[in-house]
């Protein structure tokens, strides 16, 4: 079922736009519930670097949320690294070195 529905790879901007900018969880509670459901179903994830970036730039509320959802953040496995490197090779100007 997971493969058919796809898995979302979330970056820091997703979390910032959701919680810190446009849809704060104290106002848009149902959105948080839906995302919680997706996390529970294994339909979204983020690499641990995202959590560290949230810790670096995020709001206190977002940082606390990320801490309480540590299972969402997955380690940088060799497979993920290879996928990332392939994207960098295809789009060399994507990153400012």
């Amino acid at each position: 079922m997971m493969a058919n529905e796809g898995v979302y790879s979330l970056d820091t901007s997703f979390f910032m736009d959701w919680q810190a900018r446009h849809y704060p969880v104290d106002v848009f509670a149902s959105l948080e519930n839906k995302i919680e459901e997706m996390i529970a179903a294994g339909r979204c994830g983020a690499v641990r670097l995202v959590k560290e970036e949230i810790d670096s730039v995020g709001t206190p509320g977002l940082r606390a949320w990320a801490k309480s959802h540590s299972g969402l953040f997955v380690p940088m496995t060799p497979e993920i690294q290879l996928e990332g490197a392939a994207i960098e090779a295809k789009y060399p100007d994507l990153m400012d070195p």
Binding site: S56, L82, G84, A85
Partner: protein, 404 residues
């Protein structure tokens, strides 16, 4: 082991490890020490004989101030040498800058690029700094021209409540003239007090935050402004292209000091004060020079230099005064510092023009919140306060504007 991610090896491209270290100017031993590994292990990573862990690459990225992903690029980026941007700095050999200075230069160059990109993205006009200076001109003449360009009036200057207000007003005037003014930390003062990036449009002046006295920062600011005007006049090149010997370069530096001094302390206003004070040429002591310097919100040393140039102090008197001033400085307690909020620091580091651009671009959805935070090195929770600060330009005159 701090997390699961540490157990995975990082599939980095070894030449990128070498590139990042050499670009930062660090020897292998220092990096290895920072990562708490043996130098042989670091060199084995760089040769590709061993792989570092993901955690170790994260630490390297942080230490080198590079994105984590840079180590996975297929080949090292081709970047122009940084010495092709900054003006010649006494005692700094192009290509052999200290790691701290290289980092400061790279950050300031990046900030300039960000400003240019955001200006283009927002469709805003880019101010052109076109005022030139020539070494055959008199420093007084050039100083007056720069002062006139900046639009700081005598009445305004003499009315400032303290040196911090003077620093902010001079900085804003220079920024309004089409120059970005940044502050950089962690570089020892004996390496460099200030510098310029001779890139047009939007040249950059960098001020070392270890310069604790705001009056000294003002002098450095005007000194660098003079160098930029000399560059516009094609009298000087970036460090990589400068061919003058040390003696010839010292003359350029002295000329720039005199022009900066003339811009800060106009001859006619100074003459008025000197007429009223009636001090004999050999009678200038520390309290007298300090009393005059405080009126212009400049450092006593800058004032003494100006008095010498104007002939109110002989060279001998100037040297004696400097010796007395050095003794006086030894009696002072170290600077206690002050509290600077994250917003104060961000504004101090990057200046109001850059902060304004970043906020505008964020609010227009031209950049992400993460980019905005990165550009200003500021957490998102402080952005509302930043917006308020940008709206309210009349700030406390006692705010510490360190950028550190």
């Amino acid at each position: 082991m701090t997390s699961m991610s540490t157990s995975f090896n990082a599939l980095v491209n070894p030449p990128l490890l070498v590139w990042a270290r050499e670009e930062s100017g660090y020897p292998p031993e220092l990096v290895a020490d920072r990562l708490k590994v043996k130098p042989e292990r670091l060199l084995a990573w760089e040769r590709g004989d061993l792989k570092p862990t993901v955690r170790q690459v994260q630490l390297l990225a942080k230490f080198y101030h590079r994105p984590f992903g840079v180590f996975f690029l297929p080949q090292p980026p081709l970047l122009p040498p940084i010495a092709g941007e900054y003006r010649r700095l006494p005692g700094v050999e192009p290509g052999a800058e200290s790691p701290e200075l290289r980092l400061a230069l790279r950050i300031m160059s990046q900030r300039r690029q960000i400003a240019l990109q955001l200006l283009e993205e927002l469709g805003n006009p880019i101010a052109e700094f076109e005022t030139s200076a020539h070494l055959l001109e008199g420093p007084n003449e050039v100083g007056n021209r720069l002062r006139s360009l900046l639009g700081v009036t005598n009445e305004e200057q003499l009315g400032w409540t303290d040196e911090w207000e003077g620093w902010r007003c001079w900085r804003e005037a220079v920024e309004a003239a089409g120059i970005l003014v940044f502050q950089f930390p962690k570089v020892p003062l004996n390496q460099v007090r200030g510098l310029s990036l001779l890139k047009f449009p939007l040249p950059v002046i960098g001020i070392n935050t270890k310069e604790s006295a705001p009056g000294a920062r003002v002098f450095t600011l005007l000194h660098e402004l003079t160098h930029i005007a000399l560059s516009v006049g094609q009298e000087e090149e970036p460090a990589l292209g400068e061919t003058r010997d040390d003696a010839a370069w010292s003359k350029v530096e002295r000329w720039a000091e005199e022009a900066a001094s003339a811009a800060l302390i106009p001859a006619n206003v100074l003459a008025g004060f000197l007429g009223r004070m009636s001090v004999a040429r050999g009678a200038w002591d520390v309290p007298l020079v300090r009393s005059l310097a405080v009126k212009f919100r400049v450092t006593p040393l800058a004032m003494a230099t100006r008095l010498r140039v104007e002939g109110a102090l002989t060279w001998e008197g100037y040297d004696l005064w400097k010796a007395g001033w050095a003794e006086y400085l030894k009696t002072l307690k170290p600077r206690s510092g002050g509290f600077a909020s994250p917003v104060d620091k961000a504004l101090g580091r990057g200046g109001r023009p850059l902060a304004q651009l970043v906020v505008e671009a964020l609010d227009a959805n031209r950049i992400t919140a993460v980019e905005a935070c990165r550009h200003l090195d500021l957490r998102f929770e402080h952005f509302d306060k930043l917006r308020a600060e940008l709206r309210d330009r009349a700030r406390s005159t006692h705010t510490i504007d360190d950028g550190e």
